[in-house]
Symmetry: C2
Subunit: 388 residues, 2 copies
């Protein structure tokens, strides 16, 4: 029986920060009122919710009226796509929610490099006069690649300028899903240069099924869900007050700790990476080589010839929880579309583990996980007759 | 300053039952894992979530695979409408989410009576060969009218039989939003005879932004939100585990207490109604006269010539929280579409209060509220020179 534990899947789910739970509890108990109701108790709940929205906006360098609260990042991404009718340009390594939205429409998938990085040049080349939306995430949640969103934004702005010059009224917008990046990378909308930005509470130690779409004043969002007219008519339904309050608290904490946490997580990640690499010279480290081009708390590795599912099961017996890629895809045991887009051969992809470190991760936990991973990999390699 | 309180707007928002908060807390703290992740901790969370889904299904007399979890009743209603392409038949007193979905499509609004009740005959008359969806709520949340859903179901089944006979492959489905009814009325899907049923956690002392759409095996739902493929591909996004657990706990409690609570609430409501009527003979009681045709915990009254907004403000100073109609519409200070559909003159509608009683409501609270309402109405009537 495992007495020690190491949870290394913060990319799939973060626990709620204790501060977040405390912030939410009043709205799950005595402050339960419907924020649209007319009496003082309800108006006070509405004020708190709007204060939370203002906090979220401030942390993005935005205005509260530009923030649409949603039931998570997937819905926010869908809402962004619903804002346009024309052709979509996105890259082949996007999260499944963006990919699924693109596939439901006329779209171009821009190829990514072997590090999963898309080039702004390739995006620019894919833009045609019919393109109305470009969607490139800020960081890839599976292999950690930071995408050049600002450079992509410059290309989108150049195209917009060209259309203005040509008196072509067709809009072109840039959307970026910053969910996976927001713990360690700033999400200031001006710096990003995007027209729409998705964030998720569940990735920043906030509650699940709470997210937002920021959109600039030039964007006219169109509802996916109609009804009572909440969220400026764009997203009807009685608001998840506790969730929004928790989200604001979580993003505030994340913003305060962002810089220090990025450095600390990179240190722990590199410790894990260096020790595993020393033990298994044939292990493949996936994603960009340069630390500044990848998420600090993420390590994606492949053990060619091994089966990741067996590794996960071996590790869970030892109290070590790791992922096999994106949690969504993992449950269906498919080879990841991200790895495929990077050109990773299937036999390598099948032996892939994704380890994502988080706020509670300690160096002792990393050391314990390293030992256990090494042990399980050695056993599996021996069983399969593979030399790593 | 108000030292005593009476909250009488449970139709707009219910507090979470203490049992529900307790059930949710582990999933907001240590059991935070992503239910799609592959390791034991996550699979155990998935098991708990699926057990909650099974509970919800059982309480509806349904199977777990027929339950799609959503971010609230509004989304569930939108999902029901997205299942069909053809003409919609609904009634003029539906909740704004159903109404907005209908208005975005080709639709017929069936008139309701002065008690807001729709007749199954009128629905049958509105059905044409192009009709693919009929949507009639189980109970109206604003004036409390119980709709004849079973009778409507019989008409829909007759039309289905006719089409089968005529070898017409066009489907016709019945959807019912049972959100407002489920605390006091059974929501067994076979008894209702519907093909799709919406429920809301927020109306049964569960969390906000959690709901479900039950659909029969004959219905093929189509996603509003695409992505990782959760909820059988119909509703993507990492699941709101805590919310689903809370919903199941809340509906279980509601089911256990349903019969007794309906009797208790009707008693309290009638006490409130009778005393107000004795004080104000000109007060209009809106909705069906027969108790069995209206929600037991709801009283909708109008004071002709008075302004409900002023009454609400006067009452909140005395610690009494009441609504002016549906919370969604209330914030926009429109005359309710339900009252208009019932033929209530605008000057009567403007003086309308909705009082909804709930699990924590006591007879002392009702007595306090009665006194305060009477007092505030008298003051306003004197100010306006109105005789009530």
């Amino acid at each position: 029986m495992a007495t020690r534990q190491a949870y290394l899947d913060y990319g799939a789910a973060t626990p709620l920060a204790p501060e977040v739970v405390q912030a939410m509890l009043p709205y799950l108990t005595e402050r339960f009122h419907n924020p649209s109701a007319p009496y003082a108790l309800a108006r006070s709940v509405r004020d708190d919710m709007e204060a939370a929205r203002a906090t979220l906006a401030r942390l993005m360098g935005a205005r509260p009226g530009q923030v649409t609260l949603t039931a998570g990042a997937t819905e926010a991404n869908n809402l962004a796509f619903a804002a346009v009718d024309g052709m979509i340009v996105t890259d082949a390594a996007e999260h499944e929610s963006v990919r699924a939205c693109a596939e439901a429409r006329r779209h171009v998938l821009v190829a990514v490099g072997s590090d999963a990085r898309v080039s702004a040049r390739a995006v620019a080349d894919a833009i045609t006069p019919e393109t109305e939306l470009v969607s490139v995430e800020l960081a890839n949640g599976e292999v950690g690649t930071i995408q050049p969103v600002r450079e992509v934004a410059a290309q989108v702005m150049a195209e917009r300028a060209r259309r203005l010059e040509a008196r072509d009224p067709r809009p072109i917008l840039l959307h970026t899903d910053a969910s996976q990046a927001s713990l360690t990378h700033a999400v200031n909308v001006s710096s990003l240069g995007a027209d729409m930005v998705t964030l998720s509470a569940a990735k920043v130690y906030g509650p699940k099924q709470v997210g937002l779409l920021w959109s600039s004043d030039d964007v006219r969002l169109r509802p996916l869900v109609r009804g009572g007219g909440q969220e400026g008519g764009v997203r009807s339904g009685t608001e998840n007050v506790a969730g929004v309050i928790g989200f604001a608290c979580a993003l505030e904490l994340a913003s305060e700790r962002r810089r220090g946490e990025a450095i600390r997580l990179a240190g722990l990640r590199n410790r894990l990476q260096d020790r595993l690499r020393a033990a298994f010279p044939a292990m493949v480290i996936t994603g960009p080589k340069k630390d500044k081009l990848r998420l600090p708390g993420l390590l994606h590795v492949s053990f060619p010839g091994l089966d990741a599912t067996r590794l996960v099961i071996g590790l869970e017996r030892r109290g070590v929880s790791v992922g096999t890629g994106s949690a969504c895809a993992a449950s269906r045991m498919r080879v990841s579309h991200v790895l495929r887009a990077m050109g990773v051969p299937d036999e390598v992809a099948r032996g892939s583990l994704r380890m994502t470190l988080g706020r509670p991760t300690t160096s002792e936990e990393i050391d314990y996980a390293t030992e256990q991973i090494a042990d399980v990999v050695r056993i599996e390699a021996a069983r399969m007759g593979v030399s790593l």
